[in-house]
């Protein structure tokens, strides 16, 4: 017993030192780059020091409070989130300085939200108990955006994906994705097929999914189609549907689901290609952007040029010209990183996000037979993974571009908030007893 206690204490001590060491390294990296930005662009506003100080405060309060409340948490999740979001702050200072103050406020709000999720007594039980309320709330939010949605730029032709409250704009699809993952996790956890599937299979009988499984899948498909048709938000629709297919697959091990989900995506994609100009544009410039490099394909071609200009070590912060890419600060931050930090920066981002996702899936494995927790951790990790893959592959022209944010790095308050709530939930799950 005493050795077990000693091992436990040593474990929590290493969590603390590992987390702080990583945060220290990240802080140094950010400091060097803020300095570089200041030197390369002396005209930049003087408030950007304030952004670094806010980041420092968030990181130190965050690690202190987590240490007090969740001593046995995963040591990598919080530093990676702070690393990418701090880098995001620098990128916005660099690429779109007018938005940087706003993003800094959102960072403080997001870290606070993460700490609330990580320290309140029973967030996981609430998520499970009030799942129908969550689902209803999510659908109401979606309906609200369809009828009352606006765009922060005030444009009437741009996608109306935001809900505005005075000066604050919020994108409900970001909240919706967490709500729906939590709903689906608790719904599938109660389906008996989950436990049956987790037994070693002696019988080779084919498992056809029951209506209990097919029902929510069709519901999700419907929701995604609504998002696609009414809002022209291709990225969110694909993200939702892909994550839910994967989650149902994890819960039931049914290859049929994976296969039919793939068919449904192809079908929906084909119909969307026929029906919507925006989808046709994305697919056309994905197949061959070069004939239209200065018109319809301008954005993606500039992104590819940014990757080429970056080379192995990049141009250095403030010394490249990523601002040639339209809306570089939200969808195309990855190209900006490629241009100014080069292959090294790109690899670091991919490694950081990959590590985050792997740790999330490991947390799912630790939950053993508690089906809801397994599925919740899996779903949240898959959200981050799918979203990152969609946009990173999109700006590299590996797949048609879908306009989703790169988690933690892109400009976007609601996206940052949702991503930090995901960190909070995963930290919470990683620190559960009896692992």
């Amino acid at each position: 017993m005493t050795t077990e206690l000693a091992i436990h204490q040593e474990h929590t001590r290493t969590v603390k030192t590992r987390e702080r060491l990583l945060l220290l390294l990240v802080g140094m990296f950010l400091l060097v780059n803020f300095l570089g930005l200041r030197l390369a662009q002396p005209s930049s506003t003087s408030t950007d020091w304030l952004h670094f100080i806010v980041w420092l405060i968030c990181a130190s309060i965050g690690t202190l409070l987590l240490e007090r409340n969740l001593p046995a948490r995963d040591p990598l999740l919080f530093p990676i989130a702070m690393f990418l979001s701090g880098w995001g702050l620098i990128l916005i200072d660099r690429l779109a300085p007018p938005f940087a103050d706003r993003q800094t406020v959102w960072l403080a709000v997001s870290v606070t939200a993460m700490l609330i999720v990580a320290t309140t007594p029973h967030p996981l039980r609430w998520l499970r108990q009030y799942r129908y309320v969550l689902l209803l709330g999510g659908i109401l939010l979606l309906l609200g955006t369809i009828f009352l949605g606006t765009n922060p730029s005030g444009s009437q032709t741009a996608p109306q994906l935001w809900l505005g409250f005075g000066a604050i704009f919020f994108q409900p699809s970001e909240a919706l994705k967490i709500m729906l993952v939590a709903f689906l996790a608790s719904y599938l956890a109660e389906s008996p097929s989950f436990f049956r599937a987790s037994l070693p299979a002696f019988s080779t009988q084919r498992k056809w999914p029951s209506p209990r499984i097919i029902g929510p899948v069709l519901l999700m498909w419907g929701i995604c189609i609504i998002i696609l048709v009414w809002q022209r938000d291709l990225g969110t629709a694909i993200l939702f549907f892909a994550v839910f297919i994967l989650l149902v697959y994890v819960a039931t091990r049914s290859n049929f689901i994976l296969f039919s989900g793939f068919i449904l995506i192809i079908l929906a994609g084909f119909v969307a290609y026929m029906a919507f100009a925006v989808v046709r544009l994305r697919v056309d410039v994905w197949i061959n952007p070069w004939p239209e490099a200065d018109s319809r394909a301008f954005q993606i071609v500039q992104s590819l040029l940014a990757f080429a200009a970056g080379g192995p070590f990049g141009q250095g912060i403030g010394q490249g010209s990523p601002t040639y890419i339209p809306v570089v600060h939200s969808d195309f931050v990855f190209s900006a990183i490629a241009e100014e930090w080069g292959l090294l920066g790109v690899i670091t981002v991919i490694a950081a996000i990959g590590t985050f996702v792997v740790r999330g899936l490991q947390i799912a494995l630790q939950q053993q037979q508690r089906a809801f927790l397994v599925l919740l951790a899996t779903g949240l990790s898959l959200l981050i993974a799918t979203q990152s893959l969609l946009i990173m592959a999109g700006v590299l022209k590996l797949i048609p571009l879908t306009g989703v944010t790169l988690p933690y790095l892109s400009y976007g308050g609601s996206s940052l908030l949702a991503s930090f709530v995901i960190v909070g939930l995963l930290l919470r799950l990683s620190a559960l007893e009896n692992n």
Partner: protein, 147 residues
């Protein structure tokens, strides 16, 4: 020092810091991986093995099959047993080997043709040791304890 030189230095430091962060992340992952594999090795300690033999013309010949000996090892014709025995003389649930209070016990589970230990019929649970030979149908299993 000129501005360009400082910027170059900052770029180098920034790149080195990125490498350090990558290294730190991978070191943590590697340490955790080692920790997990060591913990799994400890759990997966081996107890011993059962060596399958066949008696032909009064001599035991190895068939080449070796099964791990587990704290609960069931033997029989049904494929759900820890050691499935493909022999028409074996019952579907034929015999059971268990580890109780640091002793290995063999019991017959009311099989039709009975279980032999070193050539003698097993009627009630008996303690078995290293090099004992269990007979089920035409098949014999020699017990090999590791410690």
């Amino acid at each position: 020092m000129s501005n360009e030189l400082i910027l170059l230095l900052l770029r180098i430091v920034s790149g080195l810091l990125l490498l350090t962060i990558l290294f730190a992340i991978f070191r943590i992952l590697w340490r955790d991986f080692q920790h997990t594999t060591r913990a799994m090795d400890r759990q997966k300690r081996s107890y011993g093995s059962l060596i399958v033999m066949q008696e032909i013309d009064g001599a035991y010949l190895l068939t080449g099959e070796v099964y791990p000996l587990l704290p609960i090892t069931s033997l029989g014709r049904s494929p759900t047993n820890t050691i499935p025995i493909n022999d028409t003389f074996a019952s579907s649930e034929h015999a059971l080997i268990t580890l109780r209070e640091r002793q290995w016990w063999l019991e017959d589970r009311n099989s039709r043709n009975g279980t032999l230990l070193n050539g003698r019929q097993v009627t009630q649970p008996v303690v078995i040791t290293h090099d004992d030979i269990i007979g089920i149908g035409h098949i014999s299993l020699r017990i090999n304890l590791s410690d």
